[in-house]
């Protein structure tokens, strides 16, 4: 089953990428499309970050203080360095040390 899901999502990706120069059809994007799409990365990634730090099951919150600390340091590191590698390394080291 994973192969089917993988191939289908790969196909969707390919169709998106070639969509505007496929030569089959001229598609016109609505002007607001750009505005909505520009919020996709920050929205999706924030959802994943938040859910990996804190979750609420209807009765109580569950979280790890170590992970919260590491995430906090990583945010600071990302602000200062803007580097993926540096943020990743500093965040992991914080998690191991705390």
């Amino acid at each position: 089953m994973i192969w089917l899901v993988m191939i289908l999502t790969g196909l969707i990706n390919f169709i998106f990428r070639i969509s505007m120069f496929s030569g089959f059809r001229n598609i016109h994007l609505p002007p607001s499309f750009h505005r909505y799409v520009s919020y996709v990365p920050s929205s999706v990634l924030s959802a994943i970050i938040a859910s990996s730090l804190v979750t609420y099951n209807g009765h109580e919150f569950s979280y790890d203080v170590e992970k919260l600390a590491a995430a906090f340091i990583a945010v600071a590191c990302a602000l200062i360095t803007k580097s993926v590698s540096a943020t990743l390394i500093v965040g992991l080291i914080t998690l191991w040390l705390v």
Partner: protein, 216 residues
């Protein structure tokens, strides 16, 4: 060329490690990097797969994350429309954030005086190769590194590194906060749909706030 690989290689490593720890086989993880070939969405795919999410949730999350490629496709379309079908298929497959960024930069510097498709092919193939190699190295590392190193936490860390520099204006910050809050409180939604609900909630809020503030 080099700086753009610096962002890709750690991501590929993280994906390789995560693929294995999510329960995908080595073959599945490695081939996903050529079949799906889109960084953040592969990571999300593996994570949702490991969590036992419904297939439509996985598919629509990946599609949503990659919707931006339609915009890239539109921006380069006028330079590629005249190419043969074979060329367009290859360049379509290779179109990524990084390849798009360097190609647009070059187009704005040189215009069409130098054909951009060779440049796209070269940068696209370099990136593709770096992505495949770093995935394979990640897969090898993933099967060696002990679990108590908590490398799965590399995902949120990598995403923090990507998102934090984006938070430069009020609509984007509110979008991120909204989506984050929905993700935290929506965990008990059926079929793990929290990811879609959170993503759409954040996108809607961000876009609407941008519209309201800019029309004043």
């Amino acid at each position: 060329m080099l700086p753009f690989l610096l962002g890709v290689v750690p991501f590929g490593l993280v994906f390789g490690v995560l693929g294995i720890s999510s329960g995908l086989t080595e073959t599945e993880t490695i081939l996903m990097s050529s079949i799906v070939f889109a960084g953040a969405s592969q990571v999300v795919f593996a994570q949702l797969w490991a969590a036992g999410s419904a297939y439509f949730v996985i598919g629509s999350s990946v599609a949503l994350i990659n919707l931006r490629h339609v915009l890239y496709s539109a921006s380069v379309a006028e330079y590629l429309k005249k190419l043969s079908f074979k060329w367009r298929i290859i360049l379509g497959y290779l179109l990524t954030d990084e390849t798009f960024a360097v190609s647009i930069k070059r187009l704005s510097a040189h215009g069409e005086s130098k054909p951009v498709h060779f440049f796209m092919l070269g940068s696209g193939l370099t990136l593709w190769l770096a992505w495949q190699i770093s995935t394979i190295v990640g897969v090898i590392a993933g099967s060696i590194i002990p679990e108590n190193w908590e490398l799965a936490f590399a995902i949120p860390l990598t995403f923090i590194a990507v998102v934090v520099p984006m938070l430069k204006n009020a609509p984007t910050i509110i979008c991120a906060l909204t989506s984050g809050l929905i993700a935290v409180f929506g965990q008990s939604l059926p079929w793990k749909t929290w990811i879609i609900v959170a993503a759409l909630g954040g996108i809607l809020i961000g876009a609407l706030i941008e519209k309201w503030t800019s029309s004043k």
